[in-house]
C-alpha cells in the first residue's frame, strides 16, 4: 500500500537485531524504543508500527509509551541539537533570557528546527551542571556561565563551521 503523505520509509531491517534480542523479554518496550531512536535519530511512524507488529504489543500502547517520555522525538533533529537547561539554578541565573536570545537569533522555539536543518532547540530539565549555570549542551559539548552575548557567538561560530564544511 502506498500513500502520498510525507511519512518516512525507513529501512526497517536495521531494527531486526534489536527486536530479535528484546521482543520476547517482557517489559522491554522502552529499551527497544531507545535503541530505535539510536538507530534512526528519531522515531518515525513506520518504525513504531513495525515494533508493534514484531513484538505483538498493540500499536496504541507503543505510541502511548513513546509519547509519554520526553526522551523520544518524532521528527528528525538538526545538525546541532541545542539542549537548553531549564533547571532551577539555570532559571535563577537567567535561562529564560537565553531562550529568547536563541529565538531572536535563530527563530526557533522549544522543539523546533531551523529551516536550514542546522539547529534544533530543546528545553531540558536540569543537566546537572548547576554550578556552571546557566548551561546549554550542543551535541556533546557543554557550554557554561552563558550570557546572551556568548550564546550569539557560539551560534555564529557553529554556523560558520557548518558553512565551511558544506563548502568543502
Amino acid at each position: 500500500m502506498s500513500c502520498n503523505c510525507s511519512c518516512s520509509k525507513s529501512d526497517l531491517s536495521l531494527l531486526n537485531e534489536t527486536l530479535e534480542h528484546y521482543a520476547a523479554i517482557p517489559g522491554s518496550l522502552i529499551t527497544i524504543l531507545q535503541k530505535a531512536q539510536g538507530i534512526y535519530g528519531y522515531l518515525p511512524a513506520d518504525v513504531l508500527n513495525y515494533i508493534a507488529e514484531k513484538t505483538g504489543i498493540p500499536a496504541a500502547k507503543v505510541f502511548g509509551v513513546a509519547t509519554f517520555y520526553t526522551q523520544f522525538r518524532f521528527k528528525p533533529v538538526g545538525k546541532y541539537l541545542i539542549m537548553l537547561c531549564q533547571g532551577t539554578a539555570c532559571h535563577v541565573n537567567g535561562s529564560l533570557m537565553l531562550e529568547k536570545t536563541i529565538f531572536d537569533t535563530l527563530g526557533i522555539k522549544d522543539g523546533e528546527t531551523t529551516e536550514d536543518g542546522l539547529f534544533t532547540l530543546k528545553n531540558v530539565a536540569c543537566l546537572g551542571c548547576c554550578s556552571l549555570s546557566p548551561v546549554m549542551m550542543i551535541n556533546d559539548e557543554t557550554y557554561g556561565s552563558l550570557t546572551p552575548q556568548k550564546v550569539r557567538e557560539i551560534i555564529a561560530r557553529l554556523k560558520d563551521e557548518a558553512l565551511k564544511e558544506a563548502a568543502e
Binding site: 522491554s28 531507545q34 517520555y69 535563577v92 546537572g128 554550578s131 556552571l132
Partner: protein
Amino acid sequence: MITVKVGQGSCGISAGAGKVFNSLKNIIQEKNINANLSVTGCIGMCYLEPIVDIYNDETLTARLVRVSENDSESIAAYLTDGDVSKIENLLLSDEDRVFLDSQTRIALNGCGVINPEEIDDYIASGGYSALKRALIEMTPESVIEEIKISGLAGRGGAGFPTWFKWNAARSSQGEEKYLICNADEGDPGAFMDRAVIESNPHNLIEGMLIGAYAIGAKEAIVYVRAEYPLAIIRLERAIEQSKEKGIVGDNIFGTEFSCSFRIKAGAGAFVCGEETALIESLEGSRGMPRLKPPFPAQSGYWRKPSNINNVETFANVSWIIRNGGEEFAKLGTPDSKGTKVFAITGKIKRGGLVEVPMGKKLSDVIFDIGGGMKTDKSYKCVQLGGPSGGCIPADMQDTEIDYKKLSATGAIMGSGGMVVMDESTCMVGMARFFLDFTAKESCGKCTHCRIGTKRLLEILDRICKGEGKEGDIELLEETCNEIKAGALCGLGQTAPNPVLTTIKYYRDEYEAHINEKRCPARECIDLVKYTINEDKCIGCSLCSKKCPVGAISGEIKKKFTIDTAVCIKCGQCMDACRFGAVEKK
C-alpha cells in the same frame, strides 16, 4: 609513588577536565615523568572545577583548582622538581578549604578520592567488607535490626524509615522478590545521586547487595535517568568488574546468597521518581502511578514484593554495617539521624555538593560552607526539595536540618536540592516556574493533578503578566488545598507546596503584582521597564547600537532615551552600558 588524579565527574568534564587530563597525559609521556595519571570522581567543589589532586603514595600533597590545559607545563615542572612556586596560583585557598573541612562524608565517602573505574581501588579502601560481613556474620534479620538502630530514613524525599520498608518486603510472602534503586533523580537543582554513581558506583552496588540480602531478593535493578550517560557507563563498568570478582552473581563470597544486577535507563519523566510509576516504567509502560495500597513491598515489580530506595539511602548502608548503626545514630537530631547531602546552587558563591550531619542550621550550609551570595545583593531565601518543596525565607535561616523541622516551614527535606536566591528573584515567578514544571510533568492519570496544576499555572501566569485580579491569592490557596487532598501520588500532593510557601512568606509580592502591577524583584518582564538615568549617561550611543528594535535614540555626547512603547525588554542595552546608566524599574 606520585599519583595525579583528575576529577572527572560530569561537571568537571563540562568545565574542561577531559582536556586537562589529555594534556597532562601527553606531557607526562613526553617528559618521561615518573607519575601515575588517574581518574577520580567528583569531590563536590563544582565551582572550582577542573580539579587536579597530586598524591604522594596515600598523602595528598597538592590540590589544584580551576586548572586549564595551559597549566600542564607548570604542573609537569612541579612534578619533576617539586617546586611549589610553579603551581602556587592554582593551589586550593584556605578559604575554599573550609568547604570540605566542614563536612562529614558518609554517603559521599570516597567520591573524588578513589578511581570509580577500578574495583581494586574501592576494595583497597575497605570496600565490600561490609557486604562480606553481612553475608558471613549476620542474618538478614540482624542486618535489618542494624539499619533500624542507625535510624536511616529514605533520602529521596519522603524520609520513611528504611528498616521498615526492608522488613515489610522481607515479611511478604513469595519466593521472587526485587530490590530496586531509584536513580531517576529528577528534581531540577539536585545532582547528588548522579555524583555518587559517577564517583563511587561500587558503594551503591554494595549497599544494594546488602539490601537484597536483607529482604531476600535475587535480582537488583537500578533505574537511572537517561540524561546521566556518564553515570550509566561507570555503573555498567562497575557491575562487570563485580561480576568478574564474584561479588555479583551466584554464591557471593562463597555463601548461599545469589543476586543478579542490572541497569534500566529511564526515558525522561519526572513522575517516574514516584515508586509505583517507576515500577510501571520498569515494566515498559507509561510511568503512571498505581493506587496504594497495595504497597510495592506486597505487590510491586511484576506484582511481586519489591523494595525501592534512593541512591543516597543505599550509599549510607555499607558505612552503617561497617561502623555499626549506633555510630550513625550518634550523628544528627533525635528525629533525623546521620547526614544529608545537599546540592547547593543558585546565587551562591561556592556551589557544589555538601554532606553535613542532620541538625546543622541552614545558615551553616549557606554561609559557612557556601560562602554566602556571589552577587552584591542580599540573601532572600533558599528553595528546598525542588518542585515538591518550598522556599524558606532569610529570617528563618537558623532552622535546623531535620525532617520534622523543615516540614514545619512548609518546605520539605526533599532529595537535597538547595537553590539559594537573592533579592533579584521574584517569588511569584519562582512559583510559576515550578508549576510550569509540574503541569508539564503531570502524568495525567488523576484529575486533581492534571487539571489543578494547569489552573494554578494559568493564575500565576496572569499575575506575572500584570493581569492578576482581586481574589486570585485566595483562589490559588483553595485550588492548592484541593490538589493536596485529592491527588493520587506524591507528585500531585506536593505540587502546590511552592505556591503555598511563597504565599505564606511573600504575600506582599503577590499583592504588589496584583494590586500595583509591580514586580518588586524587577524580574517579571511584563511589569518592568528600562530607562536611562540621565545623570549617568555620557551619550556614547553604545546602547542604541545594540538595541535590536531601534527603541533608543539620542545624539552623541548628549543623553539618550528609551521609547518604552517600542522596547522589547531584551536587556541588551543594560548589558552593553559601561556606566550603569540603563536601569530596570
